[in-house]
């Protein structure tokens, strides 16, 4: 037990401030995020440049293969081809950026490279600001597409219904509203929880295995790479599913839950 204490592990839920630019705090997660951003842009621009010139190699083929798979998933989940093409940049960027940011947490030196006593490296996905921001973007974009598809009134009709005419529908609307908030929160917390837990896991394994860390850590790093891929894909797929659900409410708002008209219909039939 004293060994762990002697290690003086830095485990913090919040990303830690490295320095300030004016009043703006620059955290370790932002620094790693910037690296992730540069890597993402560099990879995708390199691939796009090669594709544009028609010069292919194995790496370009790999990225293109992943992109094609993502595009296929988008078209499978969102049947409207026009909407699918519109949501593609957001969904694919989420996948690539989350994947690369998550994988940066596996970089060696996670806990050892310090600046003013604060670790320099921390995955951006282990920063709630980023995951919450991403979830907010997703929720807002989903609402924008829902409004474009259903109209402002139609989209509002998903949440707000007349409780006197349609009490069950009104209750459903409230649940839908709560669902929107919970979906966004779940998106943010799921990614953050996994990334943060992954980082803590690597730190703890490194501490527990001491000199054997060089043997033990690669297994856990491999596992984290796999989890990173899963989380990026889950975020990507959930973004698409939420969009698909939001725009597929055509006519659903007209569902009649009140028993009165049904009885009228029944009488007329009878």
């Amino acid at each position: 037990m004293n060994t762990f204490a002697a290690l003086d592990l830095h485990i913090s839920i919040a990303a830690q401030e490295l320095f300030k630019i004016g009043s703006f705090p620059v955290t370790n997660a932002m620094l790693t995020g910037l690296a992730g951003l540069v890597i993402t842009v560099a990879i995708l621009f390199y691939v796009a440049g090669k594709v544009k010139k028609g010069r292919y190699n194995r790496f370009v083929g790999l990225v293109q293969w992943v992109f094609e798979g993502l595009l296929k998933s988008i078209h499978d989940i969102i049947p409207d081809q026009k909407l699918a093409r519109k949501i593609t940049p957001l969904a694919v960027t989420i996948f690539f950026f989350v994947l690369i940011s998550y994988w940066l947490s596996v970089l060696p030196g996670l806990e050892t490279v310090m600046y003013n006593g604060v670790p320099i490296l921390r995955s951006l996905t282990a920063d709630l600001n980023f995951t919450l921001g991403l979830a907010l973007i997703t929720v807002v974009v989903v609402q924008i597409y829902a409004i474009k598809q259903l109209g402002i009134i139609g989209n509002a009709g998903r949440y707000f219904r007349n409780p006197i005419k349609d009490p069950i529908g009104a209750f459903e609307g409230v649940l839908e509203l709560i669902g929107e908030v919970s979906r966004g929160t779940a998106l943010a917390l799921r990614l953050f929880g996994n990334a943060f837990a992954g980082e803590v896991l690597l730190i703890v394994i490194a501490a527990l295995t001491s000199y054997f860390a060089t043997v033990a850590l690669p297994f856990f790093m491999g596992f984290e790479l796999f989890i990173g891929f899963i989380q990026a894909y889950v975020f990507f797929v959930l973004t698409l599913i939420f969009t698909s659900l939001a725009v597929s409410h055509h006519g659903d708002s007209n569902h009649d839950h009140s028993p009165a008209p049904k009885s009228k219909k029944a009488k007329s039939v009878g």
Binding site: M1, N2, F4, A5, L9, I11, S12, I13, A14, A15, F24, P25, T27, M30, G33, L37, T40, V41, L44, F45, V47, A48, V51, K52, Q64, F67, E68, L71, R85, T88, P89, L90, V92, T93, F97, D127, L128, N129, F130, L132, G133, L134, L136, I137, V204, A207
Partner: protein, 181 residues
Amino acid sequence: MEILRQFASTEAAAAESSDIFSALGINWMMLIFQIVAFLLLVVLLGKFVYPWLIKSVDERQDKINAATKAASEAQAAAVDAEARVEKLLKKARVEAADIVATAKLESASALAASEEKAKKRSEQIISDAQDEIKKEVIAAKTALHNETIELVALATEKVVGKAVSSKIDESLITDALKAVK
């Protein structure tokens, strides 16, 4: 566990010192900055990267579709060609059978004609030979007749003892022969 105690105490202290958002590290300024940065990334990639990748995927898909279409067309053409070949083979077999039958008939008729011709030719040869023989016989008879007349004339001359002219001689012989007949 010292780690967990340390971890818990740090977070508890943070939670006590500030609200829940601060404890979780949520800073509105950083949140907005990261949202803007991410949206810029989406716009940048959406404008300069994805169109090329989508275009390449679409082109490849078009090529696959075209190849699939070509393959199905080729398959249909192969089936059609096979049917046509079968039909042609059937027709060829029928034609070949007709040709063989015709050839057999023609060869039979040619054989019969040549047999007929050979028969006629042989009959002609025989007939010619017979005519020749007849002519030779007649010639021989004529020669014999003339020799006989000469002999008779000589004999008669010797018997009669006087020489007669050839014309008288001849008329005498002729008369004698007529008398003999």
